[in-house]
């Protein structure tokens, strides 16, 4: 079992657009991958329903797991999670977290 951790960089967390991009990427690898929050049960990382219902917020560390030998796949997915996937259509100002 290969495992890697990643800190979710998308400002909205692993929701909506970022969740869609991530699960599509997992599905494209063709390898079974799971994702888990700290202390949580791992769920199918290619399922947008499971991934969204984890409700992973911005800045949280998640654990990706897959079969041995697919380490390369995990590296790519970690890079993806550590990119702000919502940046394209986000405003140019830095995140202020000002919404009460």
């Amino acid at each position: 079992m290969a495992q890697r951790t990643a800190v979710v960089a998308s400002r909205v967390g692993l929701h909506a657009r970022p969740a869609m991009i991530f699960t599509n990427a997992v599905a494209a690898t063709g390898v079974p991958v799971t994702i888990a929050r700290p202390g949580g049960d791992p769920v199918d990382a290619s399922s947008i329903l499971f991934v969204m219902s984890l409700g992973v917020p911005h800045g949280e560390e998640v654990t990706l797991s897959t079969d041995d030998g697919a380490q390369q796949v995990l590296d790519e997915l970690v890079t993806l999670l550590e990119t702000d996937l919502d940046a394209e259509d986000a405003p140019t100002q830095p995140a202020a977290g000002a919404g009460s």
Partner: protein, 573 residues
């Protein structure tokens, strides 16, 4: 209710509440409710219950078809609708959802029970996650309804695909249903539920579509039956006769002729009056942009906050505001800050247990408890201004004193907002309009609330509608006081209440000195037409006559008597 279910006889008339003045004739397209099937209903193939392998294949195909259908609908849609449908398609395409349903079916579970069980599991997870996800449960359920209907060979629920111009009839239309409508082919909207100020009515008003709400038994009219919808008198007529068709045709011709004038609003002698639209979302801004409005006189931002458990973030808000500003290019956009409270409660802002919420902590007054809510919104507007490269006008609702106006202006200017105003909807603000205008750049009269507070009459009490009439002389006196202050100080005084959409009252408002009128976009052509046929001096004479009247009906009657004859005939007043 005197009509009977299933009785769609020729000439039968169903009555409801009309929204707008337009009419339309066309075939009915019913929006189907979700199928009600027992969760142990057998899946029959040639009359016999299917074995698990057959059920597996049928349900697998149903999922694929639903995904394709949603993708196709999404591709045909634009903006937010496209995104909502694309997100729903992706849910339907979820591997885990499908494989868990199929696993249950392989184990001998009934089809409906299997789909319900798996969807319910995800729905619970979404609800526990809360916020954005909890709102997506509706989309999950719509996937469930579509898959079940497909698998069992039932008609698909929801909004039908319109292959010809149709009158859309529903028990009620959820925002998602309205979003899924192919507007090109919608002639009119009729619902059994809903109110004249509800979501459906507002959307229909913006689109200039005839709309009837609260029409009992409307859903019993068969699909394809030709009906006449007349919003002006609130009727739906089954198989209308030639006379009714001709009358509606004539009125449609008049409306089209009115809409042909796309020049800026003004009186016959060239006195300019800005004609603006009221909107609630960035999508509304995109919808009104192609029409001949000179901008937006009221952007109600509370739509962004409704049905949420927490306030939207600064970024979320900034994105929406920038989208609306960009849609309108360099046209004027007046944004009203959050007007929560009273009849628009918000989970995170409403004060609990107010005995008299209309007189309580609502509108700008929320700043007393939660200044961050307003600061975040103003910061978002400042950011949107930089992003879109166009400066919105910004105003606060429910201002009662000049010091509140001064405080608001200082807060707004601190965020780089340059044109700052306030609403005049509290009589105190109208009476002290001069002092208030001295603090800000403009004011906008909200005549609905102004009438409610002047006449001490709850807006939601239908039986008191006569007291809420904006023609009430006391209400007109307060409009007059406000407009005079604007003329003296050379500052704009707009009206953004529904009274601006009455072409006759619009003449009076202009005669009093009001400089802009904001209304639902569909009402603009008739107002433009009425203004174009009278001089500013005639408007002033009408205003004087209205102020001199002793009651609301006599005020209106005296102005109607002074209208140019062709205006009276064309507008049917």
């Amino acid at each position: 209710m005197t009509a009977t279910p299933g009785a769609a006889r020729t000439g039968e008339v169903l009555r409801g509440v009309g929204v707008g003045r337009r009419g339309a004739v066309g075939p009915v397209a019913q929006v189907r409710p979700a199928p009600h099937v027992d969760d142990d209903a057998p899946l029959l193939v040639d009359g016999v219950p299917a074995d698990p392998a057959t059920a597996h294949r049928i349900v697998d195909e149903a999922f694929t078809q639903v995904v394709d259908e949603l993708r196709e609908q999404s591709a045909r849609a634009t903006g937010t609708v496209r995104d909502v449908l694309a997100a729903t398609a992706q849910m339907a395409d979820d591997k885990a959802l499908r494989s868990q349903v199929l696993t249950r079916i392989d184990a001998g579970d009934h089809v409906v029970h299997a789909v319900d069980g798996v969807v319910a599991m995800f729905a619970t997870m979404f609800e526990q996650a809360g916020g954005y996800l909890a709102e997506r449960v509706t989309d999950l359920r719509s996937v469930r309804d579509r898959v079940v209907a497909r698998a069992l060979g039932l008609p698909p629920p929801g909004v039908p695909h319109l292959d010809r111009p149709s009158v859309v009839v529903a028990r009620d239309l959820a925002p998602a249903d309205t979003a899924a409508l192919d507007l090109e082919n919608v002639l009119a909207i009729v619902t059994e539920l809903g109110g004249p100020t509800g979501h459906t009515a507002i959307i229909a008003g913006q689109l200039g579509l005839p709309c009837l709400v609260q029409v009992p038994f409307a859903t019993t009219v068969e699909d394809g039956t030709v009906v006449a919808v007349d919003a002006a008198d609130g009727t739906l007529t089954v198989d209308p006769d030639d006379a009714l068709r001709a009358e509606l045709g004539r009125r449609a011709g008049v409306e089209d002729a009115l809409a042909a004038d796309v020049e800026p609003g003004g009186t016959a002698d060239g006195h300019r009056v800005q004609l603006l639209a009221n909107i609630g979302t960035a999508q509304d801004a995109e919808r009104v942009a192609p029409t001949a409005v000179e901008g937006v006189g009221l952007f109600r931002t509370e739509v962004l906050f409704l049905e949420r458990t927490t306030a939207p973030t600064r970024q979320e808000q900034a994105t929406v505001y920038a989208q609306a500003l960009s849609a309108l290019g360099d046209r004027k956009v007046v944004v009203r800050t959050l007007d929560a409270g009273a009849d628009k409660p918000l989970a995170f802002a409403t004060q609990p247990d107010e005995e008299n919420p209309a007189l309580g902590v609502r509108g700008y007054r929320l700043v007393r408890h939660d200044p961050e809510l307003l600061e975040t919104q103003l910061a978002a507007l400042g950011a949107a201004q930089s992003d879109a490269g166009t400066a919105p006008w910004v105003m606060a609702p429910m201002i009662a004193t000049a010091s509140e106006a001064r405080d608001f202006a200082a807060r707004a200017r601190a965020h780089g907002l340059t044109t700052v105003g306030v609403m005049v909807e509290v009589p105190a603000a109208a009476l002290r309009a001069r002092e208030i205008l001295a603090e800000v750049d403009f004011v906008s009269l909200g005549t609905n609330d102004l009438a409610q507070y002047t006449m001490a009459t709850d807006r939601l009490r239908g039986e008191l509608a006569d007291l809420l009439d904006p023609w009430q002389p006391a209400v007109l006196d307060l409009v007059d006081a406000t407009a005079r202050a604007g003329l003296e100080l050379h500052k704009p005084v707009g009206v953004c209440g529904e009274s601006a959409s009455d072409p006759v009252l619009a003449l009076v408002l202009v005669g009093l000195g009001v400089t802009s009128l904001s209304m639902s976009a569909g009402a603009v052509p008739a107002v433009r037409y009425a203004l174009r046929h009278h001089t500013r001096a005639q408007c002033a004479t009408m205003a004087a006559a209205a102020l001199a009247a002793e009651s609301a009906p006599s005020a209106r009657a005296s102005v109607v008597a002074m209208l140019a004859p062709e205006v009276r005939e064309t507008l049917g007043v």
